[in-house]
Each structure stands twice: as structure tokens, then as C-alpha cells.
Symmetry: C2
Subunit: 365 residues, 2 copies
């Protein structure tokens, strides 16, 4: 039956699935972990299917024309377990995570939507705590939550609370902030120490105890990005270090830009308690998720100015006073090894920092 | 600990939950069914918490300033079971459902986001079929899917596929299309026969068989709304008849507008097979969900022009040729009985058409 011939909507399902059903008959946790299997879904299924210029940029959100302005649109679903963790909860995460994706597009976050999928039997008090955290986070990030939706699924068909937030922001500059704008020679800056969000979650899940709990780095990133733009820093690309951590972010950008990236390992700050927790669990902090850290690719002659701004406007979760979270220059872009990220250690040895294949840490965000 | 005193983000959770924990200790399926318990969540918890003018309109989406234009932003999560039903599937539903909410704001739909929550073990082929249906629906509705997100949860923590879509549209007129614009004397038009989507789903779930399957009325509503605007019809309010059906939509608008609504029962078209299925299952078609039907509140002297447009630009799912789906004038707004919807039957008897309390049909969208 072709279009218009009958009442039933039947898309052309004869097309063969672009992912081998023989090799991957079913969705696995790794398909949602932000590594190469997530990449396969995006590159083989989603991008060719919904082919358009905004999606093709493969950035944290889409930058779109609207009247004579540009807007950014982004979406994320949050399925973190446990719902409450040191430094935040699924509500504050759902607000800051989407605000940060708008910031990574170079947009000023304006409006959020919220879609809740609740599991039958969820304690009303839990929902109330999550809602209050969302309000507080929206206040901190200076965004308005303007529309929403609530669905309830039967007990055993969900997991307490899932939240989707989508965000709209406005671009108030002329830059194209995306992997495609990265150039050989660009300097790469990191906004602070890495690995805290993932290890805060894992420490709770695994029952690890330290002198004091590892708190998530969860925080809004829009202010520091807007300050970089105010300072007229020529930003080529921004990326927050969520699923797959620093390693994944660098690999994605190197691949999309078709350039090489070189990082000095010792310049990447990792807190001692985070490093200890990673060692206990056999994890590499370069691959652990963060929710308040980002990398910036800037023109070399703007790197020092950018670093000053990043040192001056960092935020920890729940702290309204800006501070230096350990912002550093961590590496450079080169034209040599297209799509490859190399890591140089203290004694000068270089190794390739690969993209992770499977799920290191499921349900971290 | 107050803001700024420590690293932990602790909102003021001392506030008492505005919904009685004693009466409603847990979330039930009825909280997601679009009836009075959903209304309680919205009115007692969400609206006061995220208080802002856009949210206060209580419409299908938010209308927001952006530069010198107005945009509409809307979000919906789709949790329908079964994933595939006569006339559509969760993919086409996720596109048309959100397109329709933008249309109900009087907006031209432009951009969609898609957030997937997949259950571990989902067949790759199923995902592929859903993705293809989304592409086909986006083409039919003339929107671009520009950004997305995929999460995977463990087997038993989800239910195959949940999809959130958020939509952005542009307003190309000066009207405020919202319940607050409804006036006494407004004529109420209905775009076609009611109850098909809900009964298409229920017939599959309950194993009911008819001579031919009841197909969902799922279809995009943007074209007919844009044609109404082109024809300069003074539209006061639009509402699609999803969860809770016609009865719920009328009650929500009557309540928000603070006016009475009077409907002639015999003017509301219900197909014979839908009526039969409703009788078997003990359901009232006035409360059954639709996914391609809407009501329009218009100035009385514009009603005939509006009816002509609605008869000329109706769509059934999968049919590209517009047709008359049975558009009718079904009632009027009056100043008498604030917030009350009355139904008059063939012999002139009047009764109140209440809002439904619990879940008539869970997971219908």
C-alpha cells in the first residue's frame, strides 16, 4: 500500500536495518553508555534517517534559524540511579544537564520543558523533593520551566522517576560553536577536576565510604560560557564531559573535525579521593562522567584570556560564589593524525586514548 | 545549610508537600490518566512551584517571546502499549502528538527533539521500525527532527520504548489562542468523529475483533489550524482531545475560562464500531482519547467559515488527501454556570458532563 491509497499509515518498512541484526539483535546497556555502540546507533540509524543540517553538526544541541535570530534546542532524558546522590538528585541533574547542553551551543538558556515518566507506587514525597530541587536549580541557572507532561506506568514498567528536559536558548553572537569549527593549532582548556559525578554515584551504588562523601560536580555552566563570549574569546567548540567523560568528548570532536588531538595527562586534574575510588572499582577517570565540567577549543592567541575567565567563573554544585575549580590548558589540536586522541604521560610516553566500546557506568545521568 | 554555605545542593525540603501524603502517599496510574488526579498534581504541585505566566495559561504548550517573534514550546512523553496498533505506532504518535500540541497553540510546527528511553533487550528491528515511522510522520507533518538523546535502562526497568518529543513552532499571527481568550457566546466546533484512537488500542489489548479493525484517528492537525488562521477566523481557543477525551478537554477549558459550556450530545459523531467497542468495555466515548481530533472555540460570526475550513482540511492517518471527517458545531459557551459542562440529549434532558477522576484507559499515549 502506498501513501494515499488507504487509511493505514504504513511507512516503507521494507528498508533493511542499517545495523546488522545478526551482530546486534537486541539493544544492550552499552547502546546507551555514550561509547561506540551509542555512536553506531547515531551514525548508522538516526543521522541518515533524519538527515538535516542541524543534526549533521553532531553537537550537544541544534542551532536553528528563528525569525532573524538563532535559537538552540536540546533534549536529554535522565534515568540516573540512585535518584538522590551526594551533591544533587535527578531533579537538579535534569535542569543543569540540559542548561549545560544549551551553554555548549554558546546559547543563553531561556526556557525548559519537563516530561515525567513516573512508576506507579512512587512515594509522593519523593516526587515533591525532586520538584523542589528542579525549582531551585532553575532559579540558580536563570531559566524558566514553562511547559510539562506527566505519564504514569505500571509498577515494574519504569524505575521510580525518569525525567526528560528539553531546552531553548538564544545565541547572542555570530560564532559557529561546533566540532566543525575546530582548527589545527587550537588550544584545549578544561574547566576543572574530572570524575566526580560518576564516582559520587558509584560510591553510593557500591557502598564505598571515604572520610567524606565524594560529591558530584553537578553545576550550571551557562554563566562561565556567557562570560567567555562577553570577553570576545574566539571559541571554536565547547563540550561538557558527560557520558564517556573527557576521553569520549575528545574522541567525538577529533572524529567529527577530522583532526588529531594531543593531551598532556599530568595537566588533567583528578582529586585524590576520586582517583582512589576509581582504582578500587577498576575505572579510568578519563572515562568517568562529569556534570559540571567542560572543554573549550579556542584560537591559540585567546587561550590565556579564556583561562582567566574559566578560573574566575567556575561553580560547584550549590555554591553561588564563583571559584577556580582547577581550570587548565590540557592540550592542542594538530593536523597530523585525523580522528586520533593521544595522551602523553609524565615521562613522555604517548598512547592512544580510545573511545570506550561498552558501558563503563550505566545510568549515571 | 543555606545557599552558599557549603558544597552540597540542598533545596529547602522542609516545605510541606501540597498534596496530602496521608490521602495520596503514592503515585497511582490515575495520576497519569489526564483526569482530576493529574489535575491535582498540576494545580497543587507544578503550577505553584514553577510559577510563571507561560505555565499559568495551562495550555497544550507555552507561548514565549523570542527576539521580536513568538515561539511555542511543548513536550510530551509517549508510553503507549502496545507499541504498534492499527493506524500507527509509538513513533508516529510521538511525532503527531507533539506537532498537534504546537498546532493547538496556533503555531506552525518547525522543529522536534526526540529522547528515547530503551529497555535492555529491545529488538533492534523494533527500534528500526519505530524510527522509520517517525521519519515518515515528520515528513507528513513538515517538521524537522533536529536533536536527540538515547538512554538504555536494565531489562525490567522500562517497557520496550518510551519516547519524549519536544517541539518548537512559530506564531505568525497576533491572536492569543488559550482558554483565557474564550468568551460567552463562542461557538464550539469539533473536527470529526471521536473515540477511535482509544478504542483502536483497547481493541488490541482486549482482543476484540470486528469486521475490520478500528484504526486510530492519529493524524497531524497543523495544516487545518494554519488554514483556519489563513482564513482569518478569530480563534479563541483550540484543544486536541487526547487523554480524557472530549469531556476532559471541555471541562479543562470551562474551568480555566470560568465559563459554562453547553453541548448537544447528538451533534457529536461516534462511529458505530467505536460505539459498539465502548459498550462492550463499559466505556463512554466522550472520555476516550483521540490523536487526530480537536475542538475550536471561535467568535459566533466566524463559525460557518471555520466549519468550511475544518470540513475541507481534515486528515486521516496515512492519507495525504484532505477530507471531511465529520466536522460539526457541537455547542456554545455561556456565562451562566462557571466551570460546568452540560450535555443535552435528543429528548432535551440535560446532565453534567464531569471530569473523570481515575484512569479510564492507562497508557493510551
Amino acid at each position: 500500500m502506498t501513501k494515499g491509497e488507504g487509511p493505514s499509515q504504513k511507512p516503507s518498512w521494507q528498508m533493511t536495518c542499517p545495523i546488522s541484526i545478526k551482530d546486534y539483535p537486541k539493544i544492550t546497556l552499552a547502546h546507551g553508555a555514550g561509547g561506540s555502540l551509542t555512536g553506531q546507533l547515531i551514525e548508522k540509524m538516526f543521522l541518515p534517517m533524519f538527515d538535516n543540517p542541524a543534526l549533521a553538526l553532531q553537537h550537544d544541541g541544534a542551532v536553528l534559524g528563528f525569525g532573524n535570530k538563532r535559537l538552540a534546542l536540546t533534549t536529554d532524558s535522565y534515568v540516573v540511579q540512585p535518584l538522590f546522590f551526594p551533591g544533587g538528585n535527578i531533579g537538579s541533574l535534569a535542569v543543569y544537564g540540559t542548561v549545560n547542553d544549551l551553554a555548549m551551543c554558546g546559547a543563553r538558556p531561556l526556557y525548559l520543558s519537563a516530561g515525567f515518566i513516573l512508576e506507579e507506587g512512587l512515594a509522593m514525597e519523593t516526587l515533591w523533593q525532586v520538584i523542589q530541587a528542579m525549582k531551585e536549580a532553575a532559579f540558580q541557572a536563570n531559566v524558566q520551566l514553562v511547559t510539562g507532561d506527566t505519564k504514569v506506568v505500571e509498577h515494574g514498567k519504569g524505575d521510580g522517576i525518569f525525567i526528560n528536559t528539553s531546552g531553548v536558548g538564544i545565541l547572542e553572537h555570530e560564532l559557529l560553536i561546533a566540532p566543525q569549527s575546530v582548527r589545527s593549532g587550537d588550544v584545549i582548556l578544561l574547566s576543572g577536576d574530572i570524575g566526580r559525578h560518576g564516582m559520587a554515584i558509584m560510591a553510593v551504588r557500591e557502598g564505598l565510604t571515604f572520610e567524606s562523601a565524594i560529591e558530584s560536580d553537578l553545576a550550571p555552566l551557562a554563566e562561565v560560557v556567557l562570560k567567555l563570549l562577553d570577553a570576545r574569546v574566539k571559541i571554536h567548540c565547547l563540550r561538557d564531559l558527560t557520558r564517556g567523560g573527557l576521553a569520549n568528548a575528545l574522541n567525538e570532536i577529533a572524529k567529527t573535525a577530522g583532526l588529531g588531538i594531543h593531551i598532556r595527562e599530568e595537566s588533567v586534574p583528578v582529586r585524590q579521593d576520586v582517583r582512589a575510588a576509581c582504582e578500587i572499582l577498576g575505572l579510568d577517570p578519563f572515562y568517568v562522567a562529569n556534570e559540571g565540567r567542560f572543554i573549550a577549543f579556542v584560537r591559540p592567541d585567546h587561550a590565556q584570556r579564556a583561562l582567566q575567565v574559566m578560573k574566575s567563573y567556575g561553580h560547584n554544585a550549590g555554591q553561588s560564589e564563583p571559584q577556580d575549580l582547577g581550570a587548565r590548558v590540557i592540550g592542542v589540536v594538530n593536523a597530523g593524525s585525523s580522528g586520533i586522541v593521544t595522551l602523553q604521560n609524565k615521562i613522555g610516553t604517548r598512547r592512544i586514548l580510545d573511545r570506550i566500546a561498552g558501558e563503563q557506568l550505566p545510568r549515571i545521568c
